[in-house]
């Protein structure tokens, strides 16, 4: 096809002369548009900043520990506990006070951020990945595959998640990895259902037919044509799933089913602090603040992301108008 045809291009096309442009023309993808909207959203910026700060807290926890000279598991029974053996409040030495074993609360809070962020992000990502694949398959292949997968998801969704998580973990024993797997296991089905719904409607679109008429394989259609069109709600769901996972992990740790002590985790700290709240308010407040601020930021960010992708969705009104 090396010949060039002299096609009579009518005026109405408005294409302009064909010639080398000064800069390659970049398309404005829907992603780009969403990102632009996000950039100008003050709430999104603020919550992102907070999340970054918390991430830095997690990453630089060892540095902070080194700076104050207290390790996360070091017990300072003389300086960290009062003569009666009660935790010491915030002072110059222990900026956020100590816990019942004389450990530095501040350092432990910083380390706790690691667990929360790690489990929250990894578990959510895992859940979303699995959910997307299952949703794609169920929606695209339909019939038997769909029925089987949907029933599985239905059953999964009707399990009381905490009760079952408790049962599961009590058998296999708690650990960081188990926490991640369990949380992901109880989260993927909602993603799967959402994706399946989207795929069902996209499947009927003409561009999918076009791809099939070109001879594209099923896998290619699913991942190249359908997937980019379901990603938007999936990403929104991911940002909202992260705080849920963080809370789930904290709850598991609270019940003693999360990370194993003495590894610091916010949930674990809050569990111990119940026995001491009357004498050590800092033991409740600071880990609690850590949790609250983290989840709040992710939730706010998630709301903004949802707005960015669907500007018609009026966050304030909760409607699409």
């Amino acid at each position: 096809m090396t010949q060039r045809l002299a096609i009579d291009v009518a005026v109405g096309d408005g294409l302009g002369p064909v010639g080398p442009a000064k800069r390659p023309i970049e398309g404005r993808s829907p992603w780009r548009l969403a990102f632009e909207r996000l950039r100008h959203d003050r709430v999104a910026i603020a919550s992102s900043v907070v999340i970054v700060i918390i991430a830095l807290m997690a990453i630089f926890a060892p540095v902070v520990a080194h700076l104050v000279g207290h390790g996360p598991n070091d017990q300072y029974r003389t300086t960290g506990l009062s003569p009666e053996g009660i935790p010491v409040g915030p002072n110059l030495r222990f900026l956020l006070g100590t816990d019942e074993l004389g450990r530095d609360v501040m350092v432990r809070v910083f380390y706790g951020a690691r667990i929360s962020l790690l489990v929250g992000v990894v578990a959510s990502s895992l859940a979303v990945s699995v959910g997307v694949v299952i949703g794609l398959m169920a929606g695209y292949f339909g019939r038997v595959v769909d029925t089987v997968l949907t029933r599985l998801m239905d059953v999964n969704l009707s399990l009381p998640y905490l009760v079952f998580a408790i049962a599961l973990i009590s058998v296999v024993g708690p650990s960081l990895l188990i926490s991640i797997v369990v949380i992901a296991f109880f989260s993927f089905a909602s993603v799967g259902r959402i994706v399946r719904g989207q795929v069902l409607s996209i499947k009927e679109k003409e561009y999918v037919e076009a791809a099939r008429s070109l001879g594209a394989s099923d896998v290619r259609i699913m991942f190249v044509d359908i997937l980019p069109n379901v990603l938007a709600p999936v990403i929104v769901y991911l940002t909202l799933l992260i705080p849920l996972s963080i809370v789930f992990e904290a709850t598991l740790s609270f019940l003693g089913l999360g990370v194993v002590p003495p590894t610091p985790s916010w949930g674990g700290m809050l569990a111990s602090s119940i026995d001491y709240y009357q004498v050590a308010w800092w033991y409740v407040v600071f880990p609690g603040l850590g949790l609250l601020v983290t989840t709040l930021s992710f939730n706010l960010l998630g709301d903004s992301v949802r707005d960015a992708f669907d500007p018609r969705y009026n966050r304030f009104f909760g409607t699409t108008e």
Binding site: D154, V155, L157, S158, L159, P160, Y161, L162, V163, F164, I166, A167, L168, S170, V171, V172, P243, V247, A250, T251, F254, L255, G256, L257, G267, L270, S273, I274, Y277, Q278, W281, V284, V285, G288, L291, L292, T295, L296, N299, L300, D303, F316, F317, G318, T319, E321
Partner: protein
């Protein structure tokens, strides 16, 4: 309608069966030694052998499964390892506590959630609206147990120090013993359970109401001269309720989670605390029994929710 319910019940039975099987696989078949699990870590070889024989663990798996299901169907949930008490009687004993927490909490969360949502929806963009939305977001982000602890710290302890003894620091008093005391002990747990979930319902109701109130038929009702209150509640709320009902069905699992945690924080001797203790003590029959009970509850409650949904939305019945 009957056929619709029948299908739901059938599905529920299937789910229960799956749950029972999963639990069975988890505890009896999983690649660890169930006998050791049951006998405890310090068991001697003799005890292990005894346990094995007693539990029939030397029989083929399928026959164990069969007798397990058989016992379940007869309402026999086994006996606690700790004190040989039948699990069913444990349940009977602790259920009132959990039920008090659950129903009170659920009612409270529905009322607070829906009412605040309606409030916000009827006064869009007002101070009331903004505050409600902000509060909703705040509580939505809080883990239940954290709220419980903060309430203990703030409402119990601080007030106690100040001489106000209204809120107790935990514990349970039966309703038959003293209704007033019962209520007094339940307030903080109810608030704990309710506030976190109410936040979701508040946002949901608000969104749904706003959608509905913008509809033309609402405008017609107003134009006809109906009182605003009637418009909002009779017409608006009715349509807005369907997503709320749907969400409620989904939240039943959350309710159970909230109960477990709340009972722990407030030292309430209910089923939630029972399950947590059983795990520490590795009291398998109790764990199994409670897991199955929880699933049964969810299945039944879901059917009830579906029934309500069908009443509210006739389209569902006919599909």
């Amino acid at each position: 309608m009957a056929r619709f319910l029948l299908r739901r019940v059938a599905l529920g039975v299937v789910v229960l069966w799956v749950v029972a099987t999963l639990v069975f696989v988890l505890y009896f078949v999983a690649p660890h030694d169930p006998a050791r699990l049951i006998a405890g870590r310090q068991a001697t070889a003799q005890t292990l052998a005894d346990v094995k024989r007693r539990l029939g663990l030397d029989r083929p798996v399928l026959s164990q499964y069969g007798s397990y299901l058989w016992r379940l169907l007869h309402g026999n949930l086994g006996y606690s390892f700790v004190n040989q008490e039948p699990v069913t009687s444990i349940i009977k004993r602790d259920l009132p506590v959990t039920a008090s927490v659950a129903f009170g909490g659920a009612i409270l969360w529905l009322v607070i959630g829906v009412l605040s949502g309606v409030l916000a929806a009827t006064r869009p963009r007002s101070i009331a609206d903004r505050t409600t939305t902000a509060l909703a977001l705040f509580f939505y982000s809080m883990p239940t147990f954290l709220l419980g602890e903060l309430l203990l710290l703030g409402l119990f302890f601080r007030l106690h120090l100040a001489g106000v003894d209204f809120f107790p620091g935990g514990g349970y008093v039966g309703i038959t013993t003293s209704p007033v005391e019962w209520a007094r002990h339940m307030i903080l747990p109810w608030i704990t359970i309710a506030l976190v979930t109410a936040a979701t319902y508040s946002r949901l109701t608000r969104g749904a109401m706003l959608d509905v109130l913008g509809e033309d038929y609402i405008r017609t009702a107003r134009a006809k001269g109906l009182r605003e209150r009637r418009v909002v509640y009779r017409h608006g709320l009715r349509s807005a309720l369907t997503p709320v009902v749907t969400q409620f069905g989904i939240d039943l699992g959350t309710l159970l989670g909230g109960i477990i945690v709340t009972e722990d924080v407030f030292s309430l001797p209910g089923l939630g605390q029972q399950i947590v203790n059983s795990i520490t003590r590795q009291d398998l029959p109790v764990i199994i029994g409670l897991v199955i009970l929880a699933s049964a509850f969810i299945v039944v409650a879901n059917i009830a929710v579906d029934a309500v949904y069908a009443v509210l939305d006739p389209r569902v019945r006919l599909s």
